[in-house]
């Protein structure tokens, strides 16, 4: 029976778990959780009508957008943006298959390069959207996003490489995302390595906040200045895809931080799977809480301030952590 069904396992992984269906459920829950937290931090109620405690509000929003008319302005592309957005969703789902959340993870030596490549896809797609419609807001937003990309992606890359390099040197994980994820908790047991992990965790969270275009880095889609930046001219299903990609990026990257920096299921590494899943879920929700807390706490920076912050402080800090990780 198992042998007969075996070829269907990868299809199951892509379509159901941890692929499309599971990701959609997690995205809906995470968006609700984040909106609720953000609202509470601003002394509001947040979503509360649709579903118990407003839990189904994100789903209602997606369904509403999905069945709205897809308006394309003069000289704008109709299907190319949707195709690029679909590819980005695919890239993020592919990263999930490389993490321990997948029952049969895909991994090899140096596969971290593949993961990083796949994680850049959504950012470049979102930047391309602004250039695919003739709008001054879109072009300005995309330009800002590309400028920021050259700052925060460097920091994110350097930060993610710190646990990968440390685990490869001390635990023989061969620069694999999956193998580093299942062993990274051991790095916290050594005081010097723990310091490097704390520095990398800090820079990873700040750069992730910028990757998600949340405050103080919501510069590309600053609504008071350039309406919605690259997404100004998009509506209906394309806007639903854009919001979904944003939420998926948050989910996948928060999960990567949970596994690479926070040790995944540690300290219950030998416990049953359900107990490990609970620990990972709690750590994931804490990462989302921190991201929301930063978003609620600070005001937007100017583009020059943001890039200076990254190149002046974050790049040297993450570079220092990576160089030390290669030397100690």
């Amino acid at each position: 029976m198992y042998e007969t069904l075996r070829p269907l396992i990868p299809i199951f992984e892509v379509l159901i778990y941890p692929g499309i269906v599971f990701s959609f459920i997690v995205v809906i829950f995470t968006q609700w959780y984040r909106r609720k937290l953000y609202a509470r931090m601003q002394n509001r109620v947040g979503p509360w009508i649709t579903g118990p405690k407003g839990l189904l509000q994100p789903l209602a929003d997606y369904v509403k957008l999905f069945f709205k008319e897809d308006i394309v302005v003069i000289r704008g592309h109709l299907k190319l943006p949707a195709f690029l957005l679909a590819l980005s969703i695919g890239a993020l789902i592919a990263v999930l298959l490389m993490l321990p959340i997948s029952p049969f993870p895909i991994y090899a030596g140096f596969d971290i390069i593949v993961a990083i490549y796949l994680l850049v896809w959504p950012t470049l797609t979102l930047a391309a959207l602004g250039f695919l419609t003739p709008s001054p807001y879109g072009a300005t937003g995309s330009s800002r996003l590309l400028s920021l990309t050259l700052a925060y992606e460097v920091v994110y890359l350097l930060s993610v490489l710190v646990p990968v390099v440390l685990a490869s040197r001390y635990l023989g994980t061969a620069y694999s995302l999956y193998l580093t994820s299942v062993t990274s908790w051991r790095l916290w047991t050594h005081p010097v390595l723990a310091v490097l992990m704390i520095i990398a965790l800090f820079t990873a969270i700040i750069s992730l906040q910028c990757k998600l275009m949340d405050k103080p880095f919501d510069i590309p889609d600053a609504e008071q200045e350039i309406v919605a930046g690259p997404f100004t001219e998009y509506s209906g299903p394309k806007l639903a895809f854009i919001i979904f990609i944003h939420d998926m990026e948050q989910y996948v990257n928060a999960l990567i931080i949970t596994y690479l920096f926070l040790g995944g299921p540690a300290p219950l590494v030998n416990a049953p799977v359900w107990a490990q899943a609970i620990v990972v879920a709690v750590k994931y929700l804490i990462v989302v809480l921190v991201l929301t807390w930063i978003k609620a706490m600070v005001a937007r920076l100017r583009i020059d301030q943001a890039i200076k912050l990254f190149w002046k402080y974050m790049v040297p800090l993450s570079l220092f952590a990576l160089i030390f990780a290669s030397l100690v």
Binding site: G19, M98, A108, F131, A139, F241
Partner: protein, 117 residues
């Protein structure tokens, strides 16, 4: 452990399958909303600051925007380098090039020379 090439093939396949599903959903949405969509001229016009503008005005030179941000941000750095290095005297230029060559040699020697690569 798998081969890295196999990882690339598998992740690409996963990406393609998911993309086809997502794109299929988009096409379904297009067909489902076709009957409710009413073609009007105003919907497809480009607006900026509440006024409709022609497409030529709406198109901003993206390259200029992109380069300007970086030029503005690193202006103090450019100014400093221009003042100290870009003096216009040929001898200064030779000095900097010679210095870079020495640094390159030192790095190569420290890494064990060209032959070891």
């Amino acid at each position: 452990m798998m081969d890295l090439l196999l990882v690339i093939v598998l992740t690409s396949l996963a990406m393609v399958i998911t993309s086809l599903v997502a794109y299929g959903l988009y096409l379904y949405s297009l067909s489902a909303t076709k009957s409710i969509a009413k073609p009007t001229k105003e919907k497809t016009m480009i607006y900026a600051c509440g006024e409709d503008i022609d497409e030529k005005t709406a198109t901003v030179s993206d390259v200029n925007l992109y380069v300007t941000i970086w030029n503005e941000i690193f202006k103090p750095l450019y100014d400093m380098l221009r003042k100290r290095i870009h003096t216009g005297i040929l001898n200064d230029w030779f000095f900097w090039m010679f210095l870079l060559l020495i640094i390159a040699y030192i790095v190569i020697v420290l890494l064990g020379g060209v032959g070891s690569v």
